[in-house]
């Protein structure tokens, strides 16, 4: 394991997890349900993903595993142990977010029988795959069906066609990118590699393209203090077949993190009000957990670091 990256990533993740855990009730869904509070629903989904990644392998200490487990329990309870997802999908069968959300819980060992049956039915009918979505979201659905196992009766997704429909799949000149497209490319990689589990599922030409240009994009959004997107790009770097790490980026992330674990989304001042802090910075703090978890997992797989992660 890299003697430089690992302690940094462990520290960032541990502090971020503590903050998410300490403030989890600020993200409660409330009685009104998903439709009335889509922001909270999204936050719970992201929290489940991050917590699941913490538990995915043996990189977390016992305290972090407890925090991650409790975050998953809290999020699952907020979603009525899956019932609220089931109800949303029953009423809105063309929505794909319940499938995507559920897949993170399935990864962590949670199941809801009704959801399994409903998602399998919609997948077999082709409805789950037919929603009008951005190309990278189509990959999200394909990956969620794969992760839940609910797509086994459906047609096998054409990953190549799905991939080539995305911005990343077009392999454009690297200056044809903007802030939103930056997020799109990160999610294309997350879904193709199943959040770093399957780095070699990334087509070789896309891996080479990202190896060439990720440093440029990371530099660009670092300069303007878009820490949320920088965190996502660091996550992408960890999902590559040959993970690319610049230790300076991780040291900067550690410096940016507040003592209580919050990771700011950008270079704007951070509000003092706890509810506003949670609303504004929960996503970036989740991203920090995800980026660190994937980096630590890949670090375990990779022979002793010889690249730039060993520092100048």
């Amino acid at each position: 394991m890299s003697t430089v990256l690992a302690p940094l990533a462990h520290g960032i993740r541990s502090r971020a997890l503590h903050w998410l855990h300490a403030h989890r009730r600020l993200g409660a869904l409330g009685e009104a349900g998903i439709e009335k509070d889509l922001d909270a629903y999204k936050a719970l989904t992201e929290t489940a993903l991050a917590a699941g990644l913490v538990l995915r392998d043996g990189t977390a200490g016992s305290r972090e595993r407890v925090l991650a487990g409790e975050l998953l329990e809290f999020s699952w309870a907020q979603l009525g142990q899956g019932t609220r997802l089931y109800e949303r999908l029953v009423h809105h069968p063309m929505k794909t977010d319940p499938v995507e959300c559920y897949s993170h819980f399935v990864d962590a060992g949670y199941r809801h029988t009704g959801l399994d049956q409903l998602i399998s039915h919609l997948a077999a009918a082709g409805a789950a795959q037919a929603a009008e979505l951005l190309p990278n979201r189509r990959l999200a659905v394909a990956n969620a069906l794969r992760a839940t196992g609910c797509g086994h009766t459906a047609a096998v997704p054409d990953w190549e066609t799905l991939t080539r429909a995305t911005w990343l799949g077009r392999v454009l000149e690297p200056w044809h990118i903007d802030w939103e497209t930056g997020y799109d490319l990160t999610h294309t990689v997350f879904h193709l590699t199943d959040w770093g589990r399957r780095p070699h599922a990334l087509p070789a030409d896309l891996a080479a393209y990202l190896t060439h240009w990720l440093p440029v994009w990371t530099d660009l959004w670092t300069e303007v203090g878009e820490w949320d997107l920088v965190g996502e790009l660091l996550t992408v770097a960890g999902c590559l077949p040959d993970p690319h790490t610049e230790i300076d980026d991780w040291q900067r992330l550690a410096r940016l993190q507040h003592p209580d674990g919050l990771v700011p989304r950008d270079s704007d001042p951070v509000d003092d009000d706890p509810a506003t802090r949670f609303q504004d910075h929960q996503h970036t703090t989740v991203v920090a957990v995800i980026a660190a978890s994937i980096a630590l997992t890949r670090d375990l797989e990779t022979p002793a670091a010889t690249g730039p992660d060993s520092g100048p």
Binding site: E173, P174, W175, I177, H212, W213, P215, V216, W217, D219, L220, E223, E246, I247, D248, G307, P308, G311, P312
Partner: protein, 275 residues
């Protein structure tokens, strides 16, 4: 204030000179770049009042501008089938003798400061291109400066001067920015350790140009792109479509001066006609 005004006057002179070179390159102006520029400076108003008693003069600014643009003032004669007029050769010799190149090679960065070392390379380019175009010309000699630090594509991107242990290369950000400052060397017929390092730093140059475009720094983008065009002309495979890159910069960042001249030279290097 005086220094600022002087600097503005020198920059304006360099921009005028770039426009002159662009006109000759496009066949839209006369046939002399430097001679016309010096003549216009001599005919113009003196700058003594602005210089606080120091008679810097428009001619001094014009001579300095030639040294700023370096070999680019001769680019029309290198890239287009256009004879170097004798008065042009004499004018360049005059500028070189007015501000002679250093006799001893300055230390390369990071051991030595960037500015004199870059100045020495630009001088070397100007003198070498002139000698190639007019073997009879006898400008003041310019030493071959020390070679720059090499680039390491996998080094931390902002690392300067190579690794502390001396065997690591420089990060692609500072390295490509420096190559941009040396863009007037990216002309056919020139070869040196800088050119060798350009061949070894293709990805770093492409990253540097892309970064500059994305930051909206089109002057820097055009200068680094010069190297990419030079490499393309040299048959080196590139990770970007440099023709598209040139057009991108031209559409978004052309200034009618130095940036546009860099792009026009790049297009000539790529065998593309027109401005």
């Amino acid at each position: 204030m005086i220094a600022e005004r002087l600097r503005a006057a020198y920059e304006a002179s360099a921009a005028d000179l770039a426009r002159g070179a662009l006109g000759v390159l496009r066949g839209a102006g006369g046939t002399a770049v430097v001679a016309d520029h010096l003549e216009a400076a001599q005919a113009g108003p003196p700058m003594a009042a602005d210089a606080g008693g120091v008679d810097a003069g428009g001619v001094a600014a014009a001579v300095s501008a030639v040294r700023v643009l370096g070999a680019d003032v001769l680019a029309p004669y290198v890239l287009v089938d256009q004879r170097l007029p004798p008065e042009e050769s004499a004018a360049v010799c005059l500028c070189v003798s007015a501000l002679p190149p250093v006799r001893q090679s300055p230390a390369a960065p990071p051991g030595g400061p960037e500015a004199p070392w870059i100045r020495a390379w630009i001088d070397w380019g100007l003198v070498t291109v002139l000698a190639g175009l007019d073997p009879a010309a006898r400008p003041a000699a310019a030493v071959v400066p020390q070679q720059p630090p090499r680039c390491d594509d996998s080094a931390p991107r902002h690392r300067t001067g190579g690794g502390s242990d001396g065997d690591g290369g420089e990060g692609w950000v500072p390295w490509s920015l420096r190559m941009g400052q040396l863009a007037s060397l990216a002309l056919p017929g020139l070869d040196s350790p800088v050119h060798h390092l350009a061949r070894c730093g293709v990805l770093a140059l492409a990253r540097g140009a892309t970064r500059a475009v994305l930051r909206g720094d089109f002057a820097t983008a055009a200068r680094i792109t010069r190297w990419l065009a030079w490499l393309a002309a040299d048959g080196v495979p590139l990770p970007v479509n440099v023709s598209l890159l040139v057009r991108e910069i031209a559409l978004r960042g052309h200034d009618g001066g130095r940036c546009t001249l860099d792009l026009a030279i790049a297009r000539r290097l790529l065998g593309e006609e027109g401005p």
